[in-house]
Each structure stands twice: as structure tokens, then as C-alpha cells.
Symmetry: C2
Subunit: 499 residues, 2 copies
């Protein structure tokens, strides 16, 4: 540990690029602070008088004086009238070990510990399972991505300017954790008209995403270690949310009518909630039949269960109108409806919502206020106008037409390029098509070969619980033009046929 | 249950205002569906031929045909070649109870159940405690609100237009759950220069708020039923987040140097984290001394504890520069730094961040991806430019000057109008001033009298754990002009002095 003030050491510190953009007095203060923290200037050591240091550094005395004042204020040095400035003695004990550690870290900057003992059990669970890897760029054949290239950004920007002009200061303040009233009204009207729901604006909770809705459900409706029922196969994002809340997943098989009511009836796990995707079951694309919907509702009413209805891409139904949602058929207030704008507008908007049974509203709203407050008001109010003025319905209609064409292009491309490899199971709606691999082909092999030409084949098998896993892919097509689909499919076929 | 088709009943249904904005065929379909669900049209019942119904309703046959097709697709009716259309038999069993329930609900719409048995233990906990009630409008003397009326919205809008132009499609897609790289770089540079931190952009996690950061800490660093250490008195928002994660709060007293290290050393609860507000302790305003900072770091390093450093309004320090943050003094990577733009820009932005020890990044990032994905990229990239071009630092500097004046105005107004009632304890920084009530005055009494003139007096006592609760207020002043402060204070004084 140096016991004499070394001007050279200070000069070296002053050249540290990290300090480059600071004012001169800040640089001197920071450099001296660093030397004290590293114990290069030991406790009790005398610093040069400000006049002398100023001369040595060729700066004004005021500059050094400012640095010294700040060091004194922060408790690094003591200044004694008529005697000079000294590194504080009382921080010495705390610094000794730290200085050694600091040097060790500087010498071995790569030594990052593995998380483990420092995490909670639930934290370790999340670390072990990993998060949800969203597709951050358009790629063939990523699932769940809508077309964003033709979104009416100019209209959106115009409406946002209006909102900022009309509300000004108020949108910059905190908003209602339940969501802005104009947006709740627009969503309720939309759900009632387009989705056959039966909700009032007071039942709407505006959220940032479906995922936030599912995480809230998992936290508020079940405790760690308790079971939750989920379709098998089912949506991995939901599974992640439930697992993150330490729930145990009880898979319930799906058949060609949707989730099997007989298995729900037979369930004795004590689970209080079931998670379903009735419009287009994820990943099979099956629409839950009316009989099953009514059985589901009756089961929930009789046994005091909650139905979490994830209506994630129901807007994109290509054969007649989409079936009305479960929520609208349920007179018992057992259904928690979950909707999102990630598919109908764009994922980067980060806006989703729930329509909740009235008794659940206060607790969901309170939990949201604790977890992250609310969704930015500017975005909410802009979206409300986008809906009120009819742009939302127009956009969804245009996209439905576009996606129907792309779905057709996708089916034709699969037929043309991949016959003998996979069999498509065209669902009546949604943004992706499940495909089953023909005998002799495996997910692992096909994914590996596809990756060589930069094509991603999201596997089906990981969506199944238990042993009966289907080998296949779930292919997204909505974000790709018909031409892009055909080109990518030809490339894929070539890659698959090349050992 | 009606067994004959009653045209009158259908006609009444068609006039339901809920259906008013639908197309005609949708209205007919929805009305018939309603009658079936209510069992007004019983299972097996024959519907009129589409031609006949069209004539009765004076609409085209195609319109009725569309309605019938949709009803058939949804499973409500069966159509038999040459015989006609019938309400499906197989949904009868499910409908019978539901129809009764539907009628009961219609007759007693006010019968909302209390949440209770339907919630998880953690859900009930949140319901019992309530959420965080943010101030949604500028009012004297709400805490934690910055001035938003002079925010450079035009500059922000210009930068956002640039971002949308430059990135276009990409900002509409999903973003990195860790945050957009340009923003992480800007935040890291800011923290290193202005807050004396030592972080790389790779350590930054962009979040929606301080609250989300605290909720993540609570979930990932401790399990339900485990203790967490917190300053006493302390920030209620943090307490809510920890309680929502079912942690037990262990209060550690604060004195004039900040949180007491001797009590930390003596703690045997097994808590693995401590939550601190070192710059301006909430609510006392005390700055944690250097000696205490070093003791805190050493304690964390020796006992493998985490320090959650909430640096919520450190930018607003009015006497010299603010003290450098704990994170920059900690060579052991035990500090989780939490920052927010809610105070420096505006709360409606919903943007906060953490600077994390490297080992914690993967798990925090994964948890964020599960909980709600990420923060809107448009906002992140706009903020990055706002910082890169120097607008952020300029705004903070201007606000610091403004708030220093308002703080002075506030202290003078308290002195002028409230002497004998409260004693202000002016802190060196922050956006609020703690005031202690003089003997003879109580929080309850003063709050009640102030409420009569629309003035909110946030109480101090609720921020204390245990019995030693100070009676007083925490008064926010940053969002009010000096004139507004003085006027409100005069009004408050009059209200307080009026029995």
C-alpha cells in the first residue's frame, strides 16, 4: 500500500477512458476516489494542498478545491484547518478487504459465478427452465408473428399526436392500474360485438401482454405446489408462466373436438383452474365444439373452478365467422377471458387485456398495481382512438384476407415441396399450421438440416406432456409473403433432402 | 320452456340495444343464439324454414340463411335435408341449469360474490393488503410526482418519429427481454458518469418500473415465508412488492447516517437481501454515510447477502453533487442497482431499469420474459436518443434547479403558515420533505381537516414498522409551482386551524 502521494499514479488514473467525458473537477475527484478505494492512497495519508496539486496538474486551484470538497462531503477525506487534507481513517477497516477484491476482479474480470445458492427456489426453477425466447426478427417459419410491414403507422402516429395534444400533461402522469377508461370501453364493445362476449367496461383489465395475464392468474388463483389443468398438447408460454409461479401442470388431452370434458370430470387433482385455447387450440388448431364449451362451463360452475380462456388469434378465422367465445356463453362468471393485440396489431406494442368476473377485479387490479403499475397511457389512449375510429376492425379485416391467402400459399407449398416428409393438418384459423412428420423423419434430424439454411422448424413434440409426443412442426406463415413462403419452402425441401 | 317458435320473442330480441351495431344476419344469429341459450327455444325444437322466417322479418332469404349457417357451424342447430332446422338435442343437458342461472343473473344483476375461496393464499394476501394507489393527478401535496407540464414533448415526438423512420418494421416486433442495446448503453454510460457506478451495458436490464424491479427481486431472491430486510421507516411500494411475494419483512432501524450496520450485523433472521435507499432514505431523506456504505458492502460480501439499492431520486440533490451509488463502491458484485425514469422524466413513461451482478442477469432476464416479455421498443429507442443527444441531462439539470427553488418555497411556506403545527426536516435532496407534528396534533386529525379543502397529507406513521411510529407527513412539492405551494399551504393552515 503506497504511503506517499504519487503524482504519477494520479496522472494515470486521470487518463482512464471511463472518466473522459467528465468535467475536470469531477475527473480529479473520481480519480482520487478510485485511488482511495483501491487503497493506493491509504487511510490517514496526507493529500497535497489544493494549491500545490493544482500547480502540478496545471489546473486552477478552484478545480482541485471542488474535487476536495466533494470528497470531503462523501466522507473520503477529512480536512483539518491549517493542517491539510487526509484520507479518512474510519473507512480503512472496510476498505482493506475490498481493495484486495477489487484488484482480484480487475485481474480476472471473467470470473463470473454461476447463479445457484444466491437464488430462491422459484428463482432457480426459472433459471433451470429458461425464459420464453420470442422471435425478434421475421424468419421462416417462426410461429405467432403477424405481418407488421404494412401496419398503418402514419395513422397511429397521427392519433398519438392528437392524444398528446388533447390530454397533454395528464397522459404523462400515472394511470389507472385497471386501464384507461376509453380503451376499456372500446375493448368491451369490440368483445361484445365481434367475439360474442358479455362484458362491461368495468370488467376489463388492460395489461401489457397475454403473458402478464397468465402470470397474474397463476399467482392469484393458485399457490406454489398446487396443480393447474392445461390442454395437452398446449402453449409453452402458458406452461412457463404457471411453472414460474411454481404450479404443477396437470395435462388434459385434446381430441378433434378440443379439450376432453370426460377427463376434466375425472380429474381429482384438486386443481381450481383450467387453461384453454378454445378458438384455435394451440398447437392443433382445433375449435372447441359447442357441446364441449357448455360442458366446460357446467363443470366449472358445479365444482367452483376457473376457466382461463386464451383467445389469442381468434380474429383470424378463415371459414365463416369465428365461434363466439366461452365467456359469452358462461352465465356463472367462472371465465377469465384473455385477449392480446400482439397478433392483431403488432407484438412490440405490448398490450393485452382480460375480461374478468366482477369478483376478481379488485384483486387483479391491486396485483397489477404492485407488479408494475400500469400500461403507458399514451399507448392506451392512442389504441382507444384507433379502435373508436374503425381502424382496428379495418386492419383486422385486411389481415384476415391476407393471411387466408398466405395460408393457402403455405398449404400449396407444403404439398409441392414436402410431400413424403410431412403432412399438414390445416386448422380453420390462426397464424400457424401443424405438420406431422411421415415415418422415417424425426424432428431432431429435420431441425438440424433446416438450421443449415437458416430455417427454423418449431417442434411439436415439446408441446406435449408425457410420452405420447407427436413428431412434427408448427409452422408460422402470417409474417411471410406468399413468394417468401414458397422460396423458403423450396430451400427447406432441398436442405431436408441433403444428408 | 317454449315449445313453439314465437316470432314475437325473436322480434323483441332483435331490438336488444347490445345488437344494434351488428349486421342484420349477425343480429338474427345472435338473437336466435340467445333464445337457445336461455332455453326459450328448447332442444329438438324446429325453427321456421329460412324462406318463411325471411318473409316474416321482411328481410332477404340470404340474410336468414347466413344466420342459420353460422348457428349450424357453431353447433346450435342441426339442418336435416328436406326436413328443416332443429335446435341441437345434445346441448340440452348442459343448457338446462345454465338457462336458470342466466335468468337468475338477469333478475339480480347486483349479486357479485366476494373474492375469497376462489383465490390463492397469495391472492388473498394481496386482496387484504390492497394495491399501490398512485396519484393520477397533480394535487397538493402528493409525494413522488415530478413536474410534467414543462416536459419537452415536442423533442420527444421528433425523436420518436426518427426512430419509427429508422427502425420501422423492427420496432414493431418483439424486443430483447433484457432491453434494447442502444438504451442499455446510454443507461450504463449515464450511471458510470453521473452516479459513480461501475457497470457495463451487458449488466443493464430495462424494466417498466422500480416496482417491477422490486417484484422480480422478491420472486427471484427469496421464497414465500422467508424474511427480507428493509429500512424502518421505509418505502411502502417496496413493502407491498415484498409482501405480494409472501416475504416476511424484517425492519432495520435508520438513524441520521442511514440504515444501522450494527443491526444488520446482529440480524439472525436468515434474510438474504436488504432493501436500501442510500441517496435519500425514504422517507427521512437521510444520505447513507460512506462508512455505512462500506460496512453494508462488507457485510453483504462476508455473509453472501444481496443489497437492493433503490436510487429513486438521487438526481435531485441540492447541496453539491449527489453521493456516488453503493454499486460503484462494491467490488464483490453483491449490489442490485434499481433506477427509474418516473421521477427524472415522467411516471406515465413506465420505464425503469436495474444494473445487475453478472451472475443474476440470465435469471432476471428469463423471469422478465415470462412475466411480461419486454418494454415497448419504440419507447426504449426514443429514450436512448433522448439520452444520447443530451436532452436527458439537460432536462435533469433544469429540473434540479427548479426543484431547488420549489423546495425553498416549500420550506418558507411551512415556516410562514404552519409554525406550531409541524416542524420540517429538510433533506439534502429528493422530491418531498418529511414534517413532524408538534405535540397536540395528530396525523388523523390533520388529514381529516386537510381533506375538507381537498389537500392530501400523506402520513409518516404508516411507513414505520412496530410501535415507534412518528406522527407527521411526507409532503411532495416538485409538481407544484412556488405560487401553488404557497396558496395550498395557506389553505391548509386555515383548514387545520378550523375545528
Amino acid at each position: 500500500m503506497a504511503q506517499n502521494f504519487e503524482l504519477e499514479t494520479l496522472n494515470m488514473r486521470l487518463k482512464d477512458p471511463e472518466l473522459a467525458s467528465l468535467d475536470l473537477h469531477q475527473r480529479i475527484q473520481r480519480a482520487l476516489r478510485g485511488l482511495i478505494l483501491d487503497a493506493a492512497l491509504g487511510p490517514g495519508m496526507k493529500l497535497p494542498a489544493s494549491r500545490a496539486l493544482a500547480k502540478s496538474l496545471a489546473v486552477s486551484r478552484d478545480t482541485v478545491e471542488s474535487a476536495y470538497v466533494q470528497l470531503q462531503r462523501d466522507g473520503f477525506i477529512q480536512r483539518r484547518e491549517g493542517s491539510g487534507s487526509y484520507v479518512c481513517e474510519n473507512i480503512g477497516a472496510q476498505l482493506r478487504g475490498a481493495a484486495r477484491q477489487r484488484r482480484r476482479v480487475q485481474e480476472q474480470p471473467q470470473a463470473v459465478r454461476q447463479p445457484g445458492s444466491g437464488l430462491s427456489r422459484r428463482g432457480r426453477g426459472i433459471f433451470d427452465q429458461g425464459g420464453v425466447a420470442d422471435q425478434q426478427a421475421v424468419r421462416a417459419f417462426a410461429t405467432g408473428l403477424p405481418e407488421t410491414r404494412n401496419f398503418a403507422l402514419a395513422t397511429w402516429e397521427r392519433l398519438q399526436r392528437q392524444v398528446l395534444k388533447d390530454y397533454r400533461g395528464n397522459v404523462l402522469l400515472h394511470g389507472d392500474p385497471q386501464g384507461a377508461e376509453p380503451l376499456r370501453k372500446a375493448i368491451a364493445a369490440y368483445l361484445n360485438l365481434e367475439r360474442g362476449a358479455k362484458v362491461r367496461p368495468e370488467q376489463i383489465l388492460v395489461l401489457s401482454s397475454t403473458r402478464q395475464a397468465l402470470f397474474l392468474c397463476a399467482q392469484l388463483l393458485a399457490d406454489a405446489g398446487q396443480p393447474i389443468l392445461m390442454e395437452n398438447p398446449g402453449y409453452f408460454g402458458a406452461r412457463k408462466a404457471f411453472e414460474a409461479a411454481e404450479l404443477l401442470i396437470n395435462p388434459i388431452d385434446v381430441d378433434e373436438q378440443g379439450i376432453r370434458s370426460d377427463l376434466l370430470q375425472a380429474d381429482r387433482s384438486g386443481a381450481r383452474c383450467v387453461y384453454v385455447t378454445p378458438s384455435h387450440q394451440y398447437p392443433t388448431g382445433v375449435t372447441l365444439s359447442l357441446e364441449r364449451r357448455l360442458e366446460l362451463i357446467r363443470w366449472a360452475a358445479e365444482h367452483d373452478k376457473w376457466i382461463i380462456e386464451d383467445d389469442y388469434d381468434s380474429e383470424f378465422h378463415y371459414q365463416g365467422l369465428p365461434t363466439a367465445c366461452v365467456q359469452g356463453l358462461d352465465p356463472y362468471q367462472r371465465t377469465l377471458y384473455v385477449g392480446t393485440f400482439s397478433k392483431t396489431l403488432y407484438p412490440g406494442l405490448r398490450m393485452g387485456y382480460m375480461a374478468l368476473p366482477e369478483e376478481l377485479l379488485p384483486v387483479f387490479s391491486a396485483a397489477r398495481s404492485i407488479m408494475d403499475g400500469h400500461t403507458p397511457q399514451v399507448l392506451q389512449l392512442t389504441l382507444a382512438r384507433f379502435m373508436e375510429e374503425g381502424h382496428y376492425n379495418a386492419h383486422v379485416r385486411a389481415m384476415r384476407k391476407l393471411y387466408a391467402e398466405r395460408r393457402q400459399a403455405m398449404l400449396e407449398a407444403i404439398e409441392r415441396h414436402l410431400s413424403g416428409i410431412v403432412r399438414a393438418l390445416p386448422p380453420p384459423g390462426g397464424l400457424q399450421i401443424p405438420c406431422l412428420l411421415e415415418p422415417g423423419w424425426s424432428e431432431a434430424l429435420t431441425q438440424q438440416r433446416a438450421a443449415r439454411v437458416g430455417i427454423q422448424l418449431p417442434g411439436l413434440s415439446r408441446l406435449y406432456a408425457g410420452e405420447h409426443q407427436q413428431q412434427g412442426w408448427l409452422l408460422g406463415y402470417a409474417a411471410l409473403s406468399s413468394h417468401e413462403i414458397d422460396t423458403a419452402m423450396a430451400r427447406l425441401a432441398q436442405a431436408l433432402n441433403t444428408p
